[in-house]
């Protein structure tokens, strides 16, 4: 069985004052190899917790996750991760950052150099190979992060708001790049985002999560990612279904946010 299977995942944090937070409750997702899933939801709905559990940084209080048939118990190179920002190693050059995964596996130098060169071509940073990462712009840094993740050839790529800190123009370019890489490499990708538009554009599948307890609220299958692989993303946004879907999801999230605010007011 290939793909990522998440079965009835629950996560409960006990608080020192005796209470607890139900960060996730009975979250089940089945993801086939090569699918791109975006996860959307208001703050505090457990998106990042979910991603950390899948990455293996947190152990769930209950539930099972399997990748290609074996159970996930901890972090592993089969599940690569791209963070929002600041996860590059600033003491290494761009080349060394991208080659980090292969170096950890003691890959022969020539093989490693080949992979790094290829990926730097793919993300368009060949000219910045020997630069220190802190000399690059935010968009370039995220391209390094993508290349670093791909260099390890993981089965699943987990993205935790990788484009969240970028300006609107850079972000649009990066969205195209993510789609291109997805199609070219055929990786399974889980993308967490705050942006409804980004979730619609990139998610072949889209999950909207609801808070307290964190759970799956609604699931969509969307055509836009496929369209976006070959077309300009701005054209995709003009698609007749795009606007209504965006409104629908925005309203959904607005309602959830209002609900949270409302309960807060009651508590006060």
């Amino acid at each position: 069985m290939t793909g990522l299977s998440i079965d009835k995942l629950s996560m409960r944090f006990d608080l020192p004052d005796g209470g607890h937070v139900q960060a996730l409750q009975d979250v089940s997702i089945d993801l086939k190899a090569g699918e791109l899933l975006s996860v959307l939801g208001p703050s505090g709905c457990g998106k990042t917790t979910l991603l950390n559990i899948v990455a293996g940084f947190l152990a769930p209080t209950s539930g099972v996750m399997t990748l290609n048939g074996h159970t996930i118990t901890g972090p592993d190179a089969e599940r690569g991760m791209v963070f929002q920002q600041g996860a590059l190693f600033e003491w290494m050059s761009v080349r060394e950052n991208v080659g980090f995964g292969p170096s950890m596996k003691s890959m022969p130098k020539n093989d490693k150099a080949e992979i790094v060169d290829h990926l730097l071509d793919v993300v368009g940073l060949q000219d910045f190979k020997e630069k220190a990462v802190y000399e690059l712009s935010g968009g370039m840094q995220q391209r390094v992060a993508l290349a670093r993740c791909l260099a390890n050839d993981p089965d699943v790529i987990l993205m935790d708001e990788p484009l969240g800190a970028l300006d609107a123009l850079t972000r649009e370019k990066m969205q195209s790049l993510v789609l291109k890489l997805w199609k070219e490499t055929g990786k399974t990708i889980i993308l967490i985002t705050h942006s409804v538009e980004e979730a619609l554009l990139l998610g072949e599948r889209l999950i909207v999560m609801a808070p307290r307890p964190g759970r799956i609220h609604k699931e969509y299958r969307l055509p836009f990612a496929e369209l976006g692989v070959n077309a300009d993303l701005r054209e995709v946004k003009k698609h007749e279904d795009f606007g209504p879907k965006r409104e629908e999801i925005l309203n959904m999230i607005w309602d959830m946010e209002e609900e949270i605010m409302g309960t807060k007011e009651d508590a006060a």
């Binding site: 990455a55 293996g56 940084f57 972090p75 592993d76 190179a77 599940r79 690569g80 991760m81 963070f83 929002q84 600041g86 996860a87 590059l88 190693f89 600033e90 003491w91 980090f100 995964g101 950890m104 596996k105 220190a132 802190y134 670093r148 993740c149 390890n152 993981p154 987990l158």
Partner: protein, 424 residues
């Protein structure tokens, strides 16, 4: 009085040069900052004025020269010096039943470095005879005016006036080149005018410090050459620091990575950190004596806690996303240590090393002040005991220069070895 005069000159140079440089000389400069209208409160608009720095240093030497009568300065720039030469005053002695009699006291004021005999004077008439005395500059002299008189204190002779001005014991009368104070026992005490210069005993002139430095450099001091003295101090600092770092850095890492280590060593480190290393000197002397071992133990202790804390906070400062990224790129624990934690903590460790080197340098000088056979601190302490102020000042300048040099070296090393500092 001299102090106020000094301060006025200093402030005058400060204000005057500020006016001359900024309003007259640098008036035409038009850079980006000069176009800012808001500069008060804009930290980035404040940069050290290079000219001010140069003038500041020159002013220190100028003031030093002015108030020590330095031969490097033309004499019209000197502050008024102490009186030198021959002067005199007249005293009036009285014995009951006799008319008061005047006599003259001739005083030869000579530099301390040129001893002189009291000048010969004619005795004069009356029962009070003329006296003479030689007094060194900045010193005072009791003039036992009655010792050659026909009627002395035993006969009830008393000094009642100086230069015609009435005087009683404890009172002072100014004369042309000094002042006369009558002691409690009625003997005049002459104090030559001191001028506004510092006595060489307190502050030698710059050229004197310079020539003494050359002399010490050539002849050595107390059986060791100057370079040996400084070398011993540096050697102790380097060895103590390296030992402290060798133990402290792994300890800090262990405290940053293990609950048990953190719990075990936290109370020790947190207690020892605020203890000034100087406070350990007595104990270290009791335990290890005043030789090299004691000094190195002291410096080891001075560096140890600083390095341990620097390494600990270096580890704590690793962004969890970097560690997570490394794990999901397939790194083992050891690889994370080697490729993520160590490089990420290096900037903190370098900051700690700079602090530790500074503390060690201060501590070694203090330890040498207390007891040592050789070293920069021992040199100035011994010189101080013999009132060789020039050696003390030379030593202080050298200690400052070396301390500054150490910091510059550490900064250069930091820039070269951890260029990513503050860039994460």
């Amino acid at each position: 009085m001299t102090g106020i005069f000094f301060l006025i000159i200093y402030v005058a140079i400060f204000v005057g040069s500020a006016f001359v440089v900024t309003k007259l000389l640098q008036k035409g400069i038009r850079d980006y900052t000069s176009l800012k209208t808001v500069t008060f409160g804009d930290e980035s608009a404040v940069t050290p004025n290079r000219a001010a720095g140069v003038i500041s240093i020159l002013t220190i030497f100028l003031m030093w020269g002015v108030f020590t009568g330095s031969s490097l300065l033309p004499s019209f720039l000197h502050a008024p010096g102490p009186f030198k030469g021959t002067t005199n005053f007249t005293y009036t002695a009285q014995v009951e039943g006799q008319a008061p009699d005047d006599a003259e006291v001739t005083i030869l004021v000579h530099p301390r470095s040129e001893p002189a005999e009291a000048p010969e004077v004619a005795p004069g008439d009356g029962f009070a005879k003329n006296d003479s005395i030689a007094i060194a500059q900045w010193r005072t002299g009791l003039v036992r005016v009655d010792k050659n008189d026909e009627l002395t204190k035993k006969d009830g002779a008393k000094v009642i006036a100086i230069n015609g001005q009435k005087i009683a014991p404890g009172e002072t009368v100014k004369t042309a080149d000094g002042a006369v104070t009558l002691s409690d026992k009625g003997t005049p005490n002459f104090e030559p005018a001191k001028g506004w210069q510092m006595e060489p005993l307190y502050l030698p002139a710059p050229e004197q410090v310079w020539s003494r430095s050359i002399q010490i450099l050539q002849e050595g001091f107390r059986n060791f050459t100057l370079l040996e003295h400084l070398g011993f101090s540096l050697f102790r600092v380097v060895v103590g620091f390296i030992l402290g770092a060798i133990v402290g850095i792994p300890l800090g890492y262990a405290m940053g990575l293990s609950n048990w280590f953190r719990g075990w060593f936290d109370p020790i480190v947190e207690f020892m950190r605020p203890v000034p290393p100087l406070a350990l000197i007595p104990l270290v002397i009791i335990w290890a004596g005043i030789g090299e071992a004691g000094k190195i133990i002291l410096l080891f202790l001075a560096a140890l806690w600083i390095m341990a804390i620097a390494a600990r906070s270096g580890v704590s400062g690793v962004k969890i996303s970097k560690v997570h990224a490394a794990y999901s790129l397939g790194a083992s624990k050891w690889q994370i240590m080697r490729h993520v934690i160590v490089p990420n903590s290096l900037p903190e460790i370098f900051t700690g090393a700079r602090v530790a080197m500074g503390v060690c340098w201060g501590t070694v000088v203090a330890a040498e002040l207390v007891a040592a056979e050789q070293g920069a601190g021992m040199m100035i302490m011994t010189a101080s005991k013999f009132q060789n102020t020039d050696i003390v000042i030379m030593g202080i300048i050298l200690i400052g220069v070396i301390g500054f040099g150490i910091d510059m070296l550490m900064r250069a090393a930091e820039k070269y070895l951890v260029p990513w500092k503050g860039k994460g």
